[in-house]
Amino acid sequence: MNKDERQIVVPGETIVSGNEFLPGEGVYRDGNEVVSERLGISNVSDKHVRVIPISGAYYPRRGNTIIGTIVDITFNGWLIDFGGAQNAFLPVAEVPRYINRNELREYLDFGESVVVKVWDVKSRGVDASMKMRGFGKIEGGMIMNVSPNKVPRIIGKEGSMVKMIKGATGCNITVGQNGKVWISGDSIDKEIATRQIVEFIVENSTIHGLTEKVETYIKGLGLKMGSVEIVEEDTDVESAPEGVPSEEGKDKNEGDKK
């Protein structure tokens, strides 16, 4: 087997054998062999073996940007439902302004949506933070749901796809790694066009030359590429955090975790 080759592995399938390999995410060691623990694409870089999931539910990782809804308010923070196994907790201290503990609802009320960063992932739950640029409460626009496994396609290489859509429609797009996409623009027509483009990407995510296909699609909608200057809106959320899940970025996050 060519070790550099990426291929789809199923649970219980041997990826490599040899004691020198280190089992990473999604794999385990069985004697001399490194075995896949889930369905995904095997990746052997150096001696580090891991499996990148290609299907299934969203599993939060540290550093991810997620979009969720407030489902509960405790005495010192908010619980956010983001579609994962457990809810994320956003403490008051992780909000970038002073909030009176008795008036948490004034700032974020039940049912309101937020863009937050995954600060820590434990088996008991997820801690979230809002303390950086690009995170905060969602006001206006629309949120659409896509499969979490399509998110890298929507973002594109180093955010290229997101930039392209923004340039064509003038709408701000925030892509949560949990598969929620927030679109906000100055008119509903533009927002709908943006949503159509995102839907097009999701439907055609497996074809080759996706970028060109999307360009054609955008032109088909009567929009011009890069015609709109992106104006930074003067709200809590100033610009969409971009291009998080590039391969390198992911590796780094994992390194931090260990």
Partner: protein
């Protein structure tokens, strides 16, 4: 394996150790986290996986690890007589043994207080529905990205009169009453360690014949595993 008894030729012309034609498909329900269908002959099974998600009621939660919850059911039109929908003695039993068969391979220690729901439905039944259900459920669990040490494949083996057979159909399983009658043994075998995770027996059989049956099952499960892996590898990159 040719029999000395009255059952010298199979009803549908198969060899005694031949498995019915199989097919499997992944991703049949878009809204689910994982889904699959598995067909053997006229038996069809579909499985849908949802989760891990928070388990309610809270008192059922396990703070050490997530739990697996299997629900098996036959659709009202799956057999010639109508089946009354809803849980019954038989479906409760099958749900439970399927849960045990799958529990030995899934690893939910990363998801305490959560549940992974597996729903198995049988749209068309021609014996061997529980093993078809397990085969479909194993594919669906893998598709849902649930951590699994290995896969599970299951097959019904047995004895018709004095002849050992593999993959019994409805006629062999419940309509054959001549001479010694029929015995069926559903077996589930894990893909890597080759452990048996389900073993039931309905009928009479000698110890040596029983051992031969289990050997036959192990051979047949290899074939089933190929079908399961083939389906999973053709999941088309990112379809969900």
């Amino acid at each position: 394996m040719a029999g000395k008894g009255v059952y010298t030729k199979r009803n549908d012309g198969r060899k005694f150790d031949e498995v019915r034609e199989m097919s499997a498909k992944v991703g049949i329900v878009d809204s689910a986290d994982g889904s699959a269908s598995f067909n053997t002959g006229h038996t069809k099974a579909i499985a849908v996986v949802r989760g891990p998600r928070t388990l309610h009621p809270q008192h059922m939660q396990n703070p050490r690890k997530g739990i697996l919850r299997v629900n098996y059911g036959m659709m009202p039109f799956s057999v010639t007589d109508r089946i009354r929908p809803g849980p019954n003695r038989r479906s409760e039993e099958i749900s439970k043994v399927t849960e045990w068969a799958l529990n030995s391979v899934v690893d939910l220690s990363e998801f305490p207080n959560t549940v992974v729901d597996v729903f198995i439905q049988i749209p068309q039944a021609d014996a061997g529905t529980r093993v078809a259900g397990i085969n479909a459920a194993a594919i669906a669990l893998a598709h849902a990205g649930i951590p699994m040490k290995e896969m599970v494949s299951a097959i019904g083996v047995g004895k018709i009169d004095k002849t050992l057979v593999v993959d019994l159909d409805k006629y062999e399983d419940s309509d054959f009453h001549d001479a010694e009658g029929s015995t069926d043994i559903p077996v589930a075998i894990t893909s890597r360690t080759k452990n048996i995770s389900l073993l039931q027996l309905d009928g009479k059989i000698s110890v040596s014949e029983f051992k031969d049956c289990v050997k036959n099952a192990k051979v047949a499960c290899e074939e089933i595993l190929k079908v399961q892996m083939e389906a999973l590898k053709n999941v088309n990159g990112e379809s969900n």
